[in-house]
């Protein structure tokens, strides 16, 4: 299925996704968007793992399984994140990160 596509393409894709994620992380102020950026980064890493496994070490499935772990953990993280965001909204009436800077220095 992947025969025609070289490994580098996958790596470039994942790198692009990674930096899009980082960009979103740094520039967006909305908590939901930030959460999406985190998911984007995680998925870019997933692509990395799967691609490495498939192209370089096709006889073992370690990379695939690691990806499954990441997906599971990301789901748990997202659940917690949503809960936290809802709570933040209740207290601050906003989900803009810059509104929450009670503690500093």
């Amino acid at each position: 299925m992947t025969e025609g596509i070289p490994l580098n393409y996958f790596l470039i894709l994942s790198t692009l996704m990674f930096f899009i994620g980082i960009y979103g992380f740094l520039t967006r102020r909305n908590l939901i968007t930030i959460l999406m950026s985190v998911e984007l980064i995680l998925n870019s890493v997933n692509i990395n793992f799967v691609a490495f496994n498939n192209y370089l070490y096709p006889d073992r499935l370690q990379g695939h399984f690691f990806t499954l772990f990441i997906i599971a953990v990301a789901a748990a993280e997202a659940a917690v994140a949503i809960a936290i965001i809802i709570n933040i909204y209740r207290n601050f009436k906003s989900i803009n990160v810059e509104d929450a800077n009670e503690m500093k220095y």
Partner: protein, 458 residues
């Protein structure tokens, strides 16, 4: 193995005690569980088992660090009874989250595979995000929770990227296989270097090493104080133990690469930790900054990477955990009593009506500063010894200067307690609390007089 199961099972059992509506049972069950885990843990001494297809390795290193962490957990649980007295709802969930998080911490000391390391970090962190925000209606607690979450998930992403790179180069998640690969290849590829960099950075984030410390002061300050205690002790010890295990077990062949990273961590931690702490008005925030500086001291043991590293790190972890728990415990009492933001002034004249509390705080502060007959002195001594052996004298000199600066903010509390006047009265504390304080102080002094009991272990 049984340790891990006991901890996780205790967490689940506690979750179900909600049905009985019995608050009295909570702390005894939790402590019984922790003590059972401690017993199982100690019974693993000298057994050296490899579990789950070499995914986990139980050796004396992991048993020793687990014991330190379980001890900290027990002391924190003892404090919790009084701490949660005013909270009506969902207390048992906080306890079980603590235990779930602790399961991850236990994994971090005994992993033998990147998968386990990852699962350990996440199992430890995700409950913590919730715990940090467990004061649901406090704005600060919420803020702490989301700051911790955002930066924590970023660190996780960085970690995974690092693991992906290492996996791409070596084709394995197993520590010994990676280690063999590194020693077999003459020149370390730049992908590998980047992978190591990312992994070290992400663990550096978990242990609050500057410049990845930014979450620490805010999260420590905002979280409920008991959770802060847990973060400052168990989480930090687990992270630093994991780092040493990773670097010795896996990346020892690439020492030259990561030692430079750690040098930067150490120097920046000293600078940020000390200068940040020195001007604080809130003791809680001061302790947060000081914990950054302590990370620098602990990294000193790791950077040395010789036969003294593990034992000196263990000793430092123990002394640091005990002193931190004692300090936060007294802080909890003073803060609740004064109903204040725990400024230095609220410690004024503590010695007059609460000589016991003042003494506990005194011991903790002396231990953190590193004054003899408390454990902190030998902790610093052995860490310095280890790094001098590896030729890091210049770092040790920086560390000594950092320790001197530390005197300024630790002794400020002592001065306030003993030399300032105030009209405070006797602070009420329950028996669990007193037991915890006594244990922490007694071990601090005992180990400070006879360091050989700990230093000879591993």
């Amino acid at each position: 193995m049984l340790t891990l199961i006991t901890i996780a099972a205790t967490g689940i059992i506690i979750l179900y005690t909600t049905f009985f509506k019995s608050r009295k049972l909570l702390v005894p069950i939790a402590i019984t569980g922790a003590l059972t885990a401690l017993a199982f843990n100690i019974s693993d001494w000298n057994t050296n088992q490899l579990l789950f297809n070499n995914m986990m390795k139980i050796d004396n290193y992991s048993v020793a660090f687990n014991s330190v962490m379980i001890l900290s957990l027990i002391l924190i649980l003892l404090l919790s009874h009084q701490y949660f007295k005013g909270v009506d709802k969902n207390v048992s969930e906080i306890y079980s989250l603590l235990f779930f998080s602790f399961t991850g911490a236990c994994l971090l000391t005994s992993f033998n595979n990147f998968t386990m390391l990852f699962i350990g970090i996440e199992t430890m962190s995700i409950p913590l995000y919730v715990l940090a925000g467990s004061k649901k209606f406090s704005i600060r607690s919420n803020e702490a929770s989301f700051k911790y979450f955002i930066m924590g998930s970023f660190a996780t992403a960085i970690f995974l990227l690092g693991v992906a790179l290492v996996y791409g180069v070596t084709g394995s998640f197993n520590m010994s296989e990676v280690s063999e690969y590194i020693s077999a290849t003459a020149k370390i590829s730049s992908l590998m270097k980047l992978g190591i960099l990312f992994i070290v950075i992400s663990i550096g984030f978990k242990i609050a090493a500057a410049p990845f410390h930014f979450w620490a002061p805010d999260v420590y300050e905002g979280s409920p104080t008991l959770v802060t205690t847990y973060m400052a002790t168990v989480v930090k010890v687990a992270g630093i133990a994991a780092l040493l295990r990773l670097l010795t077990g896996c990346f020892i062949g690439a020492a030259a690469e990561w030692q430079h990273i750690l040098e930067a961590f150490i120097i920046l931690s000293f600078v940020i930790g000390n200068f940040g702490a020195i001007q604080q008005q809130s003791v809680k925030r001061m302790l947060a900054y000081s914990s950054i500086s302590h990370t620098g001291f602990m990294l000193l043991a790791i950077i040395a990477i010789n036969q003294f590293s593990a034992s000196s790190l263990l000793y430092y972890s123990l002394s640091y955990s005990l002193a931190t728990i004692a300090a936060f415990a007294v802080l909890i009492l003073v803060k609740n009593y004064k109903n204040s933001d725990a400024s230095y002034e609220s410690f004024n004249g503590l010695a007059k009506h609460n000589p016991f509390l003042a003494f506990v705080m005194l011991t903790a502060m002396l231990s953190m500063t590193g004054i003899p007959i408390t454990a902190g002195f030998f902790a610093k001594y052995y860490v310095f010894l280890a790094s001098v052996k590896s030729g890091y004298s210049w770092l040790v000199i920086c560390a000594i200067i950092a320790a001197l600066v530390g005197v300024a903010y630790y002794f400020r509390i002592i001065i306030n307690m003993y030399y300032k006047e105030s009209n405070s009265e006797k602070i009420i504390k329950d028996n669990y609390f007193v037991i915890s304080l006594i244990i922490a102080t007694a071990i601090t002094l005992a180990v400070g007089i006879l360091p050989q009991f700990i230093i000879g272990l591993i």
